[in-house]
């Protein structure tokens, strides 16, 4: 595989979160705008950037010129506290979690390029004393549903049209919740500092998790989680020890695979949205890894452990056969059983300071680091 092209931009702020704006056109995946949030500074910010495509452009006088691909800051807005979570809700609204315990909704006005707070849930994460407690993560579903979780072990369910949380699960966790994501319309999964995955069914009135998963052995905190974009029962989680774990939520409580990768806490893990055989991780040790499972997947469909059928129908037939015959339908579940080798590529060599956040869309990977820089990498070979 050809080397990825790396573009770096020093932005004078440590980046804690970075997210591509979802494309407003349903039929293309492309987007050239993304949002970033900063942390650990006198004044933290939420910024919107444009990363123009690498082709030559036409300037005001109608002359063609090579853009030089410089990152353009579209707009920025102040943020109170560290940005600890940031997700797009729609193309022009962004949910931002703060270390002060609040969650804010930022609106981007395209005509004026202004970015400002349109609503805010103040202090929804707090200690018994009432003092604000860091919110650690947010996740969104549809264009109005948001969940947030924090160091107080609380999970809040928010609707953008309501001032108050729809629901609060006060004792969702005894430890800090580090990451949360939607599994289904009304089902979320959280990871925490005691190394457990908890699934909450928001339809049920009980505050107890409906399923709990945990790693064997020592309690290693889990820092992040990502759901497989098409096979919703597969999740990947990143541990404090830098280990990537893959879980099959249909199976019993332990991970399917543990893969050692980073030498320090893994801060984010991301499946490629349209090509989920590829996965990306970043870590405190300053590395960004590209996990290519596509070779595993071709082997699996060929020798088809237990499937026997053509690759096209593998998934389908197994869903019919029910949980008694859990076949291998994804490279992520095949690695361990098949002892297949996974291709792992380091994408950011020579980076020494932590990389806090990554996001991938189409061929461009974004990474935000404590070196006060944003990296834009073209990862060839995937779409």
């Amino acid at each position: 595989m050809a080397d990825a092209t790396v573009n770096a931009k020093f932005v004078s702020q440590k980046i804690s979160k970075i997210r591509w704006r979802p494309s407003h056109d349903q039929y293309t995946q492309e987007s050239d705008v993304f949002a970033s949030g900063s942390w650990d500074d006198e004044d933290c910010k939420v910024c919107l950037w444009r990363w123009p495509a690498g082709e030559s452009m036409v300037d005001d006088d109608g002359l063609e010129f090579d853009s030089g691909r410089d990152l353009i800051e579209l707009s920025s807005a102040p943020h109170y506290g560290d940005v600890s979570g940031l997700e797009f809700l729609s193309t022009d609204s962004i949910v931002v979690a703060s270390s002060t315990g609040s969650v804010s909704l930022y609106k981007h006005h395209r005509s004026s390029q202004e970015l400002n707070i349109s609503s805010k849930w103040e202090g929804i994460h707090h200690y018994p004393s009432g003092k604000g407690c860091p919110c650690t993560c947010v996740a969104t579903q549809g264009d109005d549903l948001v969940v947030s979780a924090g160091e107080d072990g609380r999970i809040n369910v928010l609707n953008v049209s309501r001032k108050e949380p729809l629901r609060t699960i006060d004792k969702a966790n005894s430890c800090t919740v580090n990451g949360i994501t939607f599994l289904m319309q009304l089902e979320v999964i959280s990871v925490d500092s005691s190394g457990q995955l908890k699934v909450f069914d928001l339809k049920q009135s009980s505050d107890e998790p409906c399923k709990v998963f945990s790693t064997l052995g020592e309690q290693i905190p889990i820092q992040c989680i990502s759901r497989h974009p098409t096979q919703h029962h597969i999740v990947a989680a990143g541990g404090h020890d830098g280990v990537l774990s893959v879980w099959d939520l249909r199976q019993d409580k332990f991970p399917v695979t543990l893969l050692e990768a980073h030498s320090a806490p893994m801060w984010e893990v991301k499946f490629h949205p349209s090509n989920p055989d590829h996965l990306f991780t970043c870590s405190e040790d300053g590395s960004v890894l590209h996990w290519d499972g596509s070779s595993v997947s071709s082997l699996v469909t060929g020798t088809g452990a237990g499937s026997g059928g053509g690759s096209l129908f593998t998934q389908h037939s197994q869903q019919n056969s029910g949980s008694s015959n859990l076949g291998i339908t994804s490279p992520w579940l095949a690695i361990e059983s098949g002892r297949q080798k996974m291709d792992i590529t380091t994408l950011l060599p020579n980076q020494t300071l932590p990389v806090n956040t990554i996001d991938i869309l189409s061929q461009t990977l974004l990474a935000g680091s404590d070196e006060e820089s944003i990296y834009m990498l073209d990862v060839p070979g995937i779409r």
Partner: protein, 654 residues
């Protein structure tokens, strides 16, 4: 560098009373917290109205030059170059290191240049006068820094073979004195170039910088170019020996011979009045001959003494070695001294030409604010072996001294502390001590930041600091009534005492409420429970509850017994365990055989003997309750003993 450089800086702190003294506490890096305080007046005088004396705490920061948004780019971008260089320097040495050092030096300069360009672009869209002034000042500083750096690079880092660095010096001139070149471009665009008011000035400037090709192009545009004088000058310029030949295998003596030959030719032409019809051409010829007086006449075009120095040497002694340059410095400087054009930067440059590295570094530290420049330059010179490793009267060597200062100024910034740490890592002698002191003072507002600080410590095996940070985080959690989270911090640092404390808090909660909180943590302890016996007990006791709930009564029973007999259970908890035993003794099935029942009876006896654990506060209610429990237990135990003896007897017979 030991002597005092400047007068002490005096800062008056507002809202303080002179009748009170000041008390200060160190913050992080170059940060001090100052408040009013007088130990004598405070003693025994509670009713002093504190407001009167000012209750403010002042934060005092200094050396914050690197904290602006533009300079932050510089800090971060050069950090990577620095770290890469340190790693390379560890692996390579001697001649293979040199090209790497030259490359690093050029990288540093290009980052500096990029920041300067960025500042210029900001200047264009800035309206506030104050900020414009600030940006202009910053650009000026970057400019002079780059000038000094590139000269140092020529003299000490990218040393030309034999010390003959005229062509590098000419490059340096062209880069920093671009007036000639920009005029050249302007004039080129004119239809009648010779009418441009600066036509000849431009030519002189280019001659002074040795750019003969451009001079020939300009001359060729002159309408009189066909005249003999012009043709003769063109020929002379064409024949001028090129420095590039010096590097293409031609020996030095060969080049010198050519040069002498060329020089005598031009002197002859000048002497025979070949250029007499044009004053301008005469001036050019005089420059080419290296005539002393012509340089004084053109001093405004040279702009500075160092430009003049290089121009003069170019035509007087082109193969001069770098160590001989200083002989001509004074005459050039004297030209400019009269109109007061010499500043502090000039003395830095003259020290450089005099090869006094230490003076350069010293003056740069004083004149250029911030430690960024001197720290990086000194590091490069150190790796080049240009600094004698003499020890300072205090601290370590010069490199480490400057790096420590630079790192300290970074540590006092809210965001740049991570960069500062990498610089401290490169200080073999004191870096570690500095880091140990700094790391515990980094303010931590969230768990994520705590994890980051801990990662820094763990990577460097700073177990003391790990323990203290985890303790702080854990205590914070206890204060916020988050016992589960607190436990995870103490487990992380393997802090036995505090893990025990939390386990005790959990058990106390159980004793009071009859149920456990934080079950998700307790049930998931795993091998972690082994770090403290109290925690092990907690985990095992919870396991007993689970077994009991799952109606695994035999397993539950033997676990309960083993908790007692192994002495894992704390004495205060024995009553609770024995109470649990009652329920097991009362079930239909026989859980405990005679041997186990004896053991239980033994435990009860031991406990009743040791009364202090039963009712420490002698509360009458508790005493009555206890009496009832022991009676019940005695009864249950004897009945179970009888049952089990009968049962065991039966089994034996059958």
């Amino acid at each position: 560098m030991a002597e005092r450089e400047r007068d002490p800086y005096i800062l008056e702190i507002p809202f303080t009373d002179s009748s009170f003294g000041l008390q200060g506490t160190w913050g992080l890096g170059n940060q001090l917290f100052v408040h009013s305080w007088n130990p004598y007046m405070m003693e025994g005088a509670q009713n002093i109205n504190m407001k009167q004396f000012g209750t403010h705490i002042h934060e005092v920061l200094w050396e914050v030059d690197m904290h602006g948004p533009v300079t932050r780019k510089l800090v971060n971008e050069t950090h990577n170059i620095f770290v890469t260089l340190q790693n390379l320097a560890k692996e390579t040495s001697g001649s293979s290191l040199k090209p790497l050092l030259v490359k690093a030096s050029k990288q540093y300069r290009s980052v500096l240049k990029a920041c300067q360009l960025y500042l210029r672009s900001m200047l264009d869209c800035e309206e506030s006068e104050e900020r414009v002034y600030m940006f202009e000042e910053q650009i000026k500083i970057f400019d002079i820094t780059e000038l000094i750096w590139s000269l140092c690079e020529i003299l000490w880092i990218d040393v030309a073979p034999g010390g003959i660095m005229m062509s590098q010096l000419l490059e340096w001139l062209r880069w920093h004195f671009s007036e000639g070149n920009s005029l050249y471009t302007d004039i080129q665009r004119e239809e009648q170039p010779e009418h441009h008011k600066d036509y000849w000035d431009c030519i002189y400037r280019l001659v002074l910088q040795g750019q003969v090709d451009k001079v020939r192009i300009l001359l060729s545009k002159h309408p009189s170019f066909r005249m003999d004088a012009f043709q003769s000058m063109d020929e002379v310029l064409r024949k001028m020996p090129q420095f590039s030949q010096l590097y293409r295998g031609n020996s030095l003596s060969e080049f010198e011979m050519k040069w002498r030959h060329w020089r005598s030719d031009i002197e002859r032409r000048l002497g025979s009045q070949e250029f007499a019809i044009s004053d301008n051409l005469t001036i050019i010829a005089r420059i080419l001959c290296g005539e002393e007086s012509v340089f004084s006449e053109l001093k405004d075009l040279c702009e500075t003494w160092y430009h003049m120095l290089v121009s003069k040497m170019l035509y007087q002694k082109p193969t001069i070695q770098s160590i001989d340059l200083h002989f001509s410095i004074q005459t050039c400087m004297n030209e400019y001294r009269s109109d007061g054009r010499l500043g502090e930067y000039d003395s830095i440059l003259s020290s450089a030409f005099e090869f006094d590295i230490h003076q350069v570094i010293k003056d740069c530290s004083a004149a250029l604010s911030g430690w960024w420049f001197v720290a990086h330059l000194t590091d490069l010179l150190h790796h080049c072996g240009q600094l004698e490793s003499h020890r300072l009267q205090f601290g370590s060597n010069l490199r480490e001294f400057l790096l420590l200062d630079y790192a300290t100024s970074l540590m006092s910034h809210r965001s740049l502390w991570q960069v500062g740490i990498d610089y401290l890592d490169s200080c073999p002698e004191f870096g570690r001590q500095y880091l140990e002191l700094f790391v515990e003072k980094i303010p931590i507002e969230s768990e994520r930041k705590a994890h980051k600080v801990l990662s820094v410590c763990e990577k460097r095996n700073m177990s003391e600091q790990v323990k203290s940070i985890c303790k702080m985080m854990g205590m914070q959690c206890i204060k916020n009534k988050r016992l589960g989270a607190a436990l995870s911090w103490f487990l992380r640092s393997k802090d036995v005492a505090f893990a025990t404390l939390i386990a005790e808090k959990f058990l106390m909660e159980y004793n009071e409420n009859g149920q456990f909180s934080n079950l998700d943590v307790i049930d998931n302890l795993g091998p972690n429970m082994l770090i403290s016996s109290r925690l092990t007990f907690l985990g095992k006791y919870r396991e007993y509850h689970k077994l009991y709930e799952e109606e695994e009564l035999h397993a539950a029973g033997s676990l309960l017994l083993s908790l007692l007999t192994s002495r894992l259970a704390p004495r205060e908890f024995w009553v609770t365990l024995l109470r649990d035993a009652i329920t097991l003794l009362e079930v239909k099935e026989i859980i405990y055989g005679s041997k186990e029942t004896y053991e239980l009876m033994h435990c009860l006896e031991e406990l009743t003997k040791d009364r202090q654990y039963l009712t420490p506060d002698q509360d009458p209610d508790d005493l009555a309750d206890l009496k009832q429990t022991t009676d019940l237990l005695n009864l249950a135990l004897t009945r179970n003993l009888a049952r089990s003896i009968v049962m065991e007897g039966n089994i034996k017979f059958s």
